[in-house]
């Protein structure tokens, strides 16, 4: 079962058990009034997932295996020069408290606008650390926590580069994302400085029959590890990784500019050939629906393979079983710069246990040959370690700082 279907099942389950009513009741029980410091009862018309808060505490952070919410902000930070371990501890103490409050529908401790936190909208905030933060904490970074190899098609801009910390903030409401982002940035003054912000979106009406499409119209993120536990070793750091990162995950964030102007010149057959999937169903050009296996060897009447030798799906197809990772992409469509009329692309986000082993071989094949490279250019790249979750009584990064 893919996670779209699972999400639907959860929603119908909630409705059937009166979960929504329960959520509304609990919002009223803190009794802090409407002064912005306490919980506010969500509007009566709001139902389903938007009124529901998420569990924050656990062995793993939220925001990885959950179906991606439609709105996201990726906020990267640098630690000021001379930052010591205690400052990192204090920073993660504050974020842990802030995130726990925000994901349960309450403003942060200093929040004078708690009303903006009342609609949790399935908010998740996932915290990752870069190589320097690990060193600051006095631990040894894993080898993969470093810039990816340079690829021939890269045109990386420093403004989207590596950083010391990252927040992945996702929710069903762009207002919820904006408020969480603002509070989480201001609350760690002066412990961290914003390096970049990337804002992304997916189809808010995503669901059965309406998959995630990137701005080229392609169904995206089709082939994924299973998220019910069977592929945990693909997704999460296990015993082979550092002790402080067990149940954490590697997080790769690449900004891929998409040339809308040149893509617009290509006909539909050319577009489908470039990726190797049909635009309408997202199924392979060799036939079948979205979940149908690729037939990479089938040939046409002229003896050419139906899936082009340079098609994206062929080049991205795992050669060994471990070349798999979780894709959690978001589109961006920012204000055009200079004389351009579009500034669009994809915030490619991948989670896995070891990107050098699982992700880099795929990336190397795509860099060597991929028809999509005609229209796409990586302009940003950064690698982080998404921390393990905070269990009861812990802060995020508890093991990192111990």
């Amino acid at each position: 079962m893919n996670h779209t279907t699972r999400r639907t099942a959860i929603l119908s389950g909630l409705a059937g058990l009166g979960g929504v009513a329960g959520a509304a009741t609990l919002a009223g029980c803190t009794g802090s009034g409407t002064d912005g410091s306490g919980s506010i009862q969500p509007p009566a018309g709001l139902s389903g997932p938007s009124a529901r808060a998420r569990a924050f505490r656990g062995a793993r952070q939220a925001g990885i295996v959950e179906h991606p919410q439609p709105y996201a902000a990726f906020v990267a930070f640098t630690l000021p020069a001379g930052t010591e371990r205690d400052a990192l501890r204090r920073l993660l103490t504050v974020w842990t408290d802030d995130i726990e409050r925000l994901t349960s529908g309450r403003g942060t401790l200093t929040d004078l606008e708690g009303e903006l936190a009342a609609v949790t909208a399935r908010l998740t905030v996932t915290v990752g650390v870069g190589r320097r933060a690990v060193t600051v904490a006095g631990k040894t970074p894993p080898e993969w926590l470093a810039p990816l190899p340079a690829y021939a098609m890269d045109r990386l801009e420093a403004r989207w580069g590596e950083a010391d910390l990252i927040l992945q903030i996702c929710a069903d409401s762009p207002t919820t994302v904006a408020h969480a982002q603002r509070r989480l940035i201001t609350s760690v003054e002066p412990l961290a400085d914003v390096r970049w912000v990337q804002r992304g979106f997916r189809e808010p009406f995503e669901g059965p029959g309406l998959p995630m499409r990137n701005l080229f119209g392609q169904v995206d993120g089709t082939v994924q590890p299973t998220l019910d536990g069977a592929d945990d070793e693909v997704l999460f750091v296990g015993e082979a990784g550092p002790q402080w990162l067990r149940e954490g995950s590697a997080m790769v964030v690449r900004r891929i500019a998409m040339s809308m102007d040149t893509w617009d010149k290509v006909d539909r057959a050319g577009r489908e050939n470039a990726i190797g999937r049909r635009l309408d169903t997202g199924g392979p050009v060799t036939g079948g629906g979205i979940d149908a296996p690729l037939d990479l060897t089938r040939t046409d009447d002229l003896g050419f393979t139906v899936v082009d030798q340079a098609a994206h799906v062929r080049r991205a197809h795992p050669v060994t079983p471990h070349e798999r990772f979780l894709r959690r992409p978001y589109s961006y469509d920012d204000a055009p710069e200079g004389s351009a009329v579009s500034n669009s692309g994809l915030i490619f986000v991948a989670y896995c246990a070891d990107p050098v082993r699982q992700f880099v071989p795929v990336q190397a094949r795509l860099a060597e040959l991929d028809l999509l490279n005609i229209w796409t250019v990586p302009i940003g790249s950064a690698v982080f370690a998404a921390l393990p979750g905070a269990r009861d009584g812990e802060i995020l990064g508890q093991a990192l700082l111990s």
Binding site: L11, C29, A55, R90, S187, V188
Partner: protein, 173 residues
């Protein structure tokens, strides 16, 4: 049916989280029983990002709770972090600007009631700080109350507001 079970669990967890919303720190004033004075969601404005001239003092906010069946008065307090602790109110001065000043009679919390400390309203001031209050640390303040001394722990948080001007003497004195 597997999904129904999954769907229900987070709701139950959240109910607990929301009902214990505050970080509540008991006062040790009455060992064995409930502390007479407790604090919910208490925080003090950090000074590590303040300009040097502002670092001398800072404000503390949250909700004080009187757990006793009798009215509780707070007359003052002390802390290792500062030379003085003052209880303040914020009032409009003759020129219409908001300014804060010590309350002459301290704070009074009704039996079983609570007392809100907010930026721009009643609050606790730590005066003549001995050092920076750093974002993400904690500070303990011991209050003198009609039910004895009560120590309360406050989180230290960055906050851009609470910049009212300070008038050291009460306007009605």
């Amino acid at each position: 049916m597997r999904f129904l079970v999954r769907a229900c669990a987070p709701v139950a967890v959240l109910a607990l989280a929301a009902c214990s919303s505050g970080t509540s720190t008991p006062s040790p004033a009455s060992p064995g029983g409930a502390a007479p004075l407790t604090l919910t969601d208490g925080w003090c404005k950090s000074t590590d990002s303040m300009p040097a001239m502002s670092k001398e003092m800072t404000g503390c906010f949250g909700t004080l709770v009187n757990t006793t069946g009798k009215e509780l008065k707070i007359s003052g307090g002390s802390t290792d972090a500062a030379m003085m602790v003052e209880l303040h109110e914020t009032v409009k001065n003759a020129s219409g600007q908001m300014q804060m000043q010590p309350v002459p009679d301290g704070f009074t919390i009704p039996a079983g009631g609570s007392f809100a400390l907010k930026p721009g309203a009643n609050h606790v001031m730590l005066m003549k700080l001995k050092g920076d209050l750093k974002t993400g640390d904690k500070v303990t303040v011991t209050f003198d109350t009609s039910a004895g001394k009560g120590a309360l722990t406050w989180e230290i948080r960055a906050f851009p507001g609470a910049e009212e001007s300070y008038v050291p003497s009460p306007s009605n004195s």
